[in-house]
């Protein structure tokens, strides 16, 4: 008996370049574009160095709402709706929404998306949220699962203080390492199918969870350094790029204290020098000489506003060619903190590039 003819080998998957460059590093075949962006910030952020690049600045911290949690939700909803409108799209033309915020159970997102009729997934990885949203949106779009995706992120200083530390009404004194949570929301529309836009997402590196045993919720910048360093080093290794390939390496958010530690950490342990190319989204939101925010800003609103507000416009004008955004999140909850647990952290990176840049 002759063995059955061997089935024809399945055709090789058409891959001009591999989609997976290493553990956790994705390379997008047809890099999805960011086609529109919208940002909403609080009054203090509006007076900061980034204020001029923001679309809406609130006159007070409430925005007509009776509590800050509702304000955060409203800001996120507005950013998402306006980003979709600016792309010239109707909600029905957007296939998926990925949003993230800092409130318990991700309610900032869920409450915002009650009136936005787009299939929605709420994400939580604290301040790494916006970067993770961009990475997942680009994956869905480049994989053909969505034509367009909207990514939104928000944080609100007073809501976050109540959530993570003490209610601001209590008037508790903040230590010098404390970061000021950014009151801000940003959203972008990510589109494929040859859509035109000033920013393309070429790579993403997903981070693993780290925990160096730090426990202080007033010093999260220091806790997040190992995660940011590991994700950056893996990204460089997997893509074969050096630091000089980037105009800018943006972390969000280590604040000023964490940023200094990151620079030393990278130099000493990895021989990587990012001095001069690195900025921190949280630290960029405020002017320390005029604004009393201790160690700079934090909160995923910072990276969302810097990317959707500044990077988007700067790439459209050709001022930036390639930016690596490393979102860093501390993943503790108030309950775990009270139970004496340390703070697990994660960092996700996305590479943003001006189309046609060399």
């Amino acid at each position: 008996m002759t063995p059955p003819a061997q089935a024809a080998a399945p055709p090789a998957r058409p891959q001009a370049t591999p989609r997976r460059l290493g553990r956790g590093t994705l390379q997008f075949m047809e890099p999805p574009r960011i086609v529109s962006a919208f940002t909403v910030v609080g009054p203090m952020e509006g007076k900061g160095p980034m204020g001029g690049y923001m679309d809406t600045t609130l006159e007070d911290t409430f925005y007509g709402e009776r509590c800050w949690e509702r304000t955060e939700s409203k800001m996120l909803r507005e950013a998402v709706e306006q980003a979709i409108a600016r792309a010239g799209l109707a909600e029905a033309e957007v296939d998926v929404a990925l949003t993230t915020d800092l409130l318990n159970q991700c309610v900032g997102s869920s409450f915002a998306m009650r009136s936005v009729k787009v299939p929605h997934v709420g994400l939580f990885c604290a301040c790494a949220g916006f970067a993770s949203g961009l990475a997942l949106a680009a994956s869905l779009v480049d994989g053909g699962f969505a034509r367009r995706a909207v990514v939104g992120a928000s944080s609100h200083h007073d809501a976050a203080e109540r959530q993570y530390r003490f209610p601001t009404e209590l008037g508790v004194q903040r230590p010098p390492t404390a970061q000021w949570t950014v009151t801000g929301a940003g959203a972008v529309v990510v589109a494929g199918d040859g859509a035109q836009g000033p920013v393309q997402i070429t790579h993403a590196t997903l981070g693993q969870v780290w925990d160096m045993g730090l426990k202080d919720p007033y010093d999260m910048g220091s806790a997040m350094v190992p995660a940011a360093a590991d994700t950056l080093v893996r990204h460089l290794h997997d893509t074969g790029r050096g630091v000089e390939a980037f105009d800018w390496i943006l972390t969000g958010d280590l604040g000023r204290v964490g940023s200094r530690i990151l620079l030393d950490w990278l130099k000493e342990r990895h021989g990587v020098d990012i001095d001069g190319r690195h900025s921190d989204c949280g630290a960029m939101m405020y002017d320390p000489s005029r604004q009393d925010v201790h160690a700079g800003g934090s909160g995923l609103g910072a990276s969302a506003c810097v990317v959707a507000g500044y990077v988007f416009k700067a790439m459209a004008r050709g001022l930036l060619n390639r930016v690596l955004l490393i979102g860093t999140g501390s993943l503790h909850s108030p309950t775990t903190h009270f139970q004496g647990e340390s703070i697990p952290v994660v960092a996700h990176a996305v590479c943003l590039e001006r189309p046609g840049a060399r």
Binding site: H157, F166, T168, V172, Q173, P175, P176, K215
Partner: protein, 116 residues
């Protein structure tokens, strides 16, 4: 002289609190509890009452005085009523401070809206 003494002693107690917040990982909540407990212990050792008599408001305005009056109520009632007094006396003196802070806190919450 009385004012100067009150200012110096009160300021010194608060400076210790500031050093605790700046120099340790303790939060404001921890620091407050620490001061109440310290006041209670010092009172039990008979050290806080003389401090109040000497420095006046400098000693009875900081939160450590709250611990002191808790202990004071217990000690007074223990002497008069025995073990039951140790329980009933806890809020004897402190009750006024507690009631005042609850009422004033409520009034402030009704009258004002925090701006963040």
């Amino acid at each position: 002289m009385q004012y100067l003494l009150a200012f110096l002693v009160g300021g010194l107690i608060c400076a210790v609190g500031q050093l605790v917040i700046d120099g340790t990982r303790l939060t404001a909540g921890h620091t407050m509890v620490l001061f109440v407990v310290a006041g209670a212990v010092l009172s039990g050792l008979g050290l806080y009452e003389p401090l109040v008599r000497w420095a006046g408001a400098g000693a009875f305005v900081p939160v450590s005085n709250f611990g002191h009056v808790l202990t004071k109520g217990v000690v007074d009632h223990l002497a008069r009523e025995g073990l039951w007094g140790a329980l009933s006396g806890v809020f004897e003196v402190a009750g006024a401070a507690l009631a005042a802070s609850i009422l004033l806190g409520f009034a402030m919450a009704v009258l004002f809206h925090p701006r963040g």
